[in-house]
Subunit: 469 residues, 2 copies
Amino acid sequence: MRLLMVSLFLYCGLVFAHEQDGSLYSNEFLQKLIKLRDQALSDDLGYRITESLTTEVGARLAGSSNDAKAVAWAQSKFKELGFDRVTVEPAKLTRWTRGEETAEVVTPYPHQLAITALGRTIPTPEAGITGEIVHFKTLADLEAADPAMVQGKITFISNRMERHQDGSGYGKAVGARGTSAQVTAAKGGIAAIIRSIGTDDNRTPHTGAAKYDKDIPSVPAGAISNPDADLLVNMLKREQPVTIKLRLTSHWDGEYTSYNVIGDMLGTSQKEQYIVIGCHLDSWDLGTGAIDDASGCGITMAAAKLIREEVGPLKKTIRVVLWANEEYGLSGAKAYHEAHKKNLANHILGGESDFGAGRIYGFGTRVGTAAMPIIYKIAEILRPLGIEYSNNQSWSGADLIPLRKAGMAVFSLHQDGTKYFDYHHTANDTLDKIDPKELAQNVAAWVVVTAMAANTEHDFGFGLTDPEK
Amino acid sequence: MRLLMVSLFLYCGLVFAHEQDGSLYSNEFLQKLIKLRDQALSDDLGYRITESLTTEVGARLAGSSNDAKAVAWAQSKFKELGFDRVTVEPAKLTRWTRGEETAEVVTPYPHQLAITALGRTIPTPEAGITGEIVHFKTLADLEAADPAMVQGKITFISNRMERHQDGSGYGKAVGARGTSAQVTAAKGGIAAIIRSIGTDDNRTPHTGAAKYDKDIPSVPAGAISNPDADLLVNMLKREQPVTIKLRLTSHWDGEYTSYNVIGDMLGTSQKEQYIVIGCHLDSWDLGTGAIDDASGCGITMAAAKLIREEVGPLKKTIRVVLWANEEYGLSGAKAYHEAHKKNLANHILGGESDFGAGRIYGFGTRVGTAAMPIIYKIAEILRPLGIEYSNNQSWSGADLIPLRKAGMAVFSLHQDGTKYFDYHHTANDTLDKIDPKELAQNVAAWVVVTAMAANTEHDFGFGLTDPEK
């Protein structure tokens, strides 16, 4: 009964769509697309690609020995999937390596702490650094502190990230990761530790990039796990001095050339116009980078492949970009923008899958108003997947920032991020965190948006005002 | 309304109890006890004791520098809580220390693996050991294997522990931890790794004791985390040889004297008769030993203290034993049995809290049939806590094995262990895994059983047949 009603609904939607917007898409195209959308829900190609990258390459920090392996994997996988054109484009970066990382409470109660260096931070002396903790609940408290309180001490920010479906707790908490080292240095502190920017209770601390500028003084900085932060807070409640020793040997380590890897499914009538989808190929080094961002690669590579296989070549080219070094430099994003400066307007619409593989519930855009009928049509085909249109103020992914700032239209497929920050940037970012059925729903959604964007001769506006301007 | 009904229910239960079994307990005692039982549900003493041990001592592997700190903590805490008599009794042991532990896949796809040495296992050579994996789904498969398959290889058992409320998946899976090293050695293998005996998906491998006998050949052995085991299984599906390198420097390290720490709340008319409750004071070294077993100490120490404070001295002595080295030797249990050989029959009833702090749902015993009226009376007072009597075939805790084998009656308060094996024996065994309200319900239950056992001049039978005989 339920199946029949869904079928009727889909059929009515289709008829309605075609009657109302016949000029946008052919009935034949929409039929094929809807069939593929529904098949994709039980297709495992996206999951298999994700499994392949996490198993055969694993952790792939930009500049590490696995960076080149990931680039080779990506070229090989695009070819295996039958992409029409596979290219690599250099993305230069200054390499940061993690080294060793240990922390312990020295007094009053010795404990080993689970710590990880924040990305891009400077090392402690080889023998480590020991100092008394000065505790702040938030970055704002540290910023407001009298330097005399901080002088010679190790700062500790204990604010805990909130859990929300849309991941909005991240933005509120992540400032401490970004600038605590610089603020600590400015006030005469000797090192900075923060409570991990994460929603879990595991002894798996969360790394992630801190701000770095060689001309701004900084200190060694690390994140301790949530249970370790709780322990320190409980210890500090006893109102005795708490001394800790840190040893973080992470450091900058010379120049390196990584690559964006690009797979094109060429268009027909508008081959030089690109619908740009993708993921970032690099990951942090603690886990195997499954939800950040192998799943984004699996989802978008599979979507492009399934579209070609089941629907055929479309009007515009579908370009899947596997971006280099998103995590600590946006190196691939910057290099692409630079390399394609002369034809940015050919980048018709862009989206990046970079928030794990949780179920998609929303669809947002940032397109010219003339394109809204197409967007509403896409939203209609997405709706049976449990996806509702949100608004036209989408931000999209980090790797699209340079293109978006240049005026490219973008879209977002909003994923359920309730659990994402339990694992993000930790040793726990591994394949088992992905539900194959949820990942397949992502593929279905990316199929719909990508194919419909690529199979219209309309554009989506260019030269839009950037939300960050 | 609900409160009134609960009160009426409790009142009726009380009247009934007194009328039917007037000879067992005075009305005044039962009234005080029921009042305390209900107050205990919102009392935080048990949680505060648990917080104190995990914060001020933390990890306390038998024989480590924290062993003596834990003993000092326990003596001091018993005194602070007003126990009438605090004693320590030596428990000799051969010290095992963990050392360093690393593992990596060498070919075909290099990965770092999260590994921990199994307790009591022997070390690899200092430089580590490298070999090809031979994969078995279960210990039984390894036991049945042709030695030619195992010769010169590293065995890997990938069987995953099942999750059940009563923790019964543990018994089915833990054999691999116990004997895989010996079975591997007997077949000419060079090392053994197992999938962690745990129900989680964290990169926090589960340690725990392996069988050890200096006269039985063994090999270095470790447990890898569940995500790492999944990774190896996926790699092995590709049907290429998988080579790993292990380095485990754990080793036996000389003799040490630890101590059972005993706090007595002395009885009145039967001071020399003991109701023996408690926990084990030692823990594994990876976390802070919160659920294994600081919570058991918090629960039982708080129960004895609250009984004395709110109900007063009872007929028999309440003896809280904090057992030494449960984890890799039952050293305290054996030493206590040896030291008290002449008065074992004075140990009237025993119970150990050693399964975390999950909500108690069941009450079981192993007592003489003459004591069953008392047991049913205890069960009646427990029932409003959501606890049902199970049966008279209880096993009780590991530290009571020698006393139980000598004939002591025992009881168990069955805790919800649904999540226990997510954290058991891992770095994740920390205070945040404990729900203070659930812990308080444990205290309430221990108050009821302990006080009712201590405030009768009856006994519970001695010389019972041991379930393991």
